[in-house]
């Protein structure tokens, strides 16, 4: 029972990290219809940057926030390249973000080398009903809850958030009422970069990351987001938590090396199930 509780809470924490990543993916996809393959890269950049800031003596908190800001800047850069040129289709933009992920590898290896790195988070463990849970796990869960609440408020209560939602709902109508759709797309990329960065900063103390961790992070983020067809942050949150818990349970009770297989198989099943409820006509009309 104590094992179960331990796996549950650390699984929820990992799932929260995936949820942050997935919400960035959803934000960008809703506004720009681009599936951002570089989303995992934001997390890697922020996680490694936070470690560097900490090692030069920046205090906890400040280092993490600065790293998230760096990820936001990287997000802006990715957005400028992916959607800055008029007439870039969503499919081309996906390939462009794949290329940007490669370019980021080069920069990351130059700065941080190719070994996995980690930085200390919140130290110590808490005992609950016989289970020892890392404090960092609670930090991840708490921050994620706060971020999702802030996102909800942002999208429903502020002008900028409403403008973003307007672009997501109908880009043509949004332009007609004077919203600059491209600029909103870039805002979405900055937001996506910061959300990905937050995931990276929070997850790095739990699992060391290296430059090529982004493939696994993006597949997990995508797997979570795909539950809501990349458009609904709420469903992405549920998907991410399920995924995190399922992976941790498989790793704990069965075999650690099978955890990604479970996540990926789950993603495939969900996608195929969803596609069976959709026709080609609907998809082409939505293009």
């Amino acid at each position: 029972m104590s094992d179960f509780l331990q796996y549950l809470i650390s699984g929820l924490a990992v799932g929260c990290g995936f949820a942050l990543l997935a919400s960035g993916l959803v934000t960008i996809h809703r506004v720009t219809h681009v599936v951002n393959f570089a989303q995992g890269m934001f997390a890697v950049v922020a996680g490694l940057t936070a470690g560097s800031f900490l090692s030069v003596g920046l205090p906890h908190g400040l280092a993490e926030v600065a790293a998230v800001a760096v990820a936001g800047a990287v997000g802006l850069l990715v957005g400028l390249i992916a959607i800055g040129k008029p007439g870039t289709s969503a499919q081309s933009a996906l390939i462009a973000t794949l290329g940007l992920g490669f370019a980021a590898y080069a920069v990351e290896i130059m700065i941080w080398g190719d070994n996995p790195r980690s930085h200390p988070g919140l130290r110590g463990t808490v005992e609950i009903a016989g289970a020892y849970v890392q404090k960092q796990s609670f930090l991840v869960i708490g921050v994620t809850a706060a971020v999702f609440a802030a996102l909800l408020a942002f999208f429903t209560r502020t002008y900028l958030g409403k403008a973003l939602s307007a672009c997501a709902a109908n880009p043509y109508a949004a332009r007609a009422v004077g919203i600059n759709v491209t600029r909103m797309g870039l805002v979405a990329f900055v937001l996506g970069g910061m959300l990905g960065g937050a995931a990276g900063v929070l997850l790095t103390p739990l699992m060391p990351i290296s430059y090529n961790s982004d493939v696994l992070l993006i597949t997990n983020g995508f797997a979570a987001a795909v539950l809501g067809a990349l458009n609904r942050p709420g469903l992405a949150l549920i998907g991410a938590l399920t995924l995190g818990v399922a992976e941790t349970m498989v790793a704990g009770y069965y075999e650690a090396s099978y955890q990604t297989v479970v996540a990926l198989a789950l993603m495939l099943v969900i996608m195929i199930w969803q596609s069976s409820r959709r026709t080609a006509l609907q998809e082409e009309a939505a293009r």
Binding site: I95, A103, A106, I109, T219, I272, E284
Partner: protein, 344 residues
Amino acid sequence: MKPSPRWAAAAAVCAAALLAPLLLSETQLPVYIVLVLAACVVTGLSMLMGYAGQVSLGQAAFFMIGGYTAALIALEELPTWLGLAASPLVAAVLAAVIGVPLLRLRGHQLAFATLAVQLILLNLVGQQEWTGGDIGLQGVPRLAIGGYEFADDVAYAYLALAVLGLTVLITRNIVKSRPGRGLRALATSEVAAESSGVPVAGYKLAVFSLSAGFAGLAGGVYAFYFGYVAPSSFPVLLSFEYVVMVVVGGAGTIYGALVGATAVTLLLQLLNNIGTMEGMPAAAPTVLSYAVYGVLLVLVVLFMPRGLVPTAAAWWERRRSARPRGDDPASDGAERPAPAPASV
């Protein structure tokens, strides 16, 4: 048909490809063989991306299946030619089986699904005892067909070229045929193609499994040439590399696939030589190769979305048609005044 620049170019490319193994040095031959094998995979992927309009981010998975099939059969003391013959079949059949549910997905969903298939496969192969786990299978015997043993690099270079020739021939015949036109139609709009009587699902599955078969065949040759296969020989990055080659060359053209594979491989090799020069940091070759993939992919997607070959062909056609007609009586450009869509 009278000899046209097109045929002259094809003959020149063939001659250069056939002469190259005799002229290249010992250190260059392995690069050449890898290049030719990559071109086989890329030809199939290019057909999938250009004609069926589907992106596969897991094409190296089928390359891996081919390699493991050949290695397993050869290590069972069965005739090695059987291993080579089985590698495309196993890859194609597996692709057909997983393609039935997978090809209901489109666009980015299929891209992620194929990526997931490769990650799953890599993970499973790394765990099983009969595939040798993470260490893989070693000591694969040399390929022997009808008493002739492929012993040296030159023999494998010609084997790889023969495989590429077969791949190109099959692709060309399919593209020129009625199903090829059906495929091009379904890449534009599946609904329109379906209503004009194109069996969309069947054609997509056929192309998917054919491109997997090409990759499997190339993987079989790879296993015999290098003598070992391991999960680390077939990373996800290899799949991305194939996509880079397709996009750079131009999806949906055979020349594009060949040019893409050649250009990317040569550029990487050049940078690798620069990166391993004295005074360069140890990580330089890796950094340079990643930078090249990234920069190349972004530049081509943004500024040359049709790829090198179709862009160059269109430029050539424009130049010809801009010239006064009387200058060039033998021009076949007069028959096709508009820049033709990417053809083979």
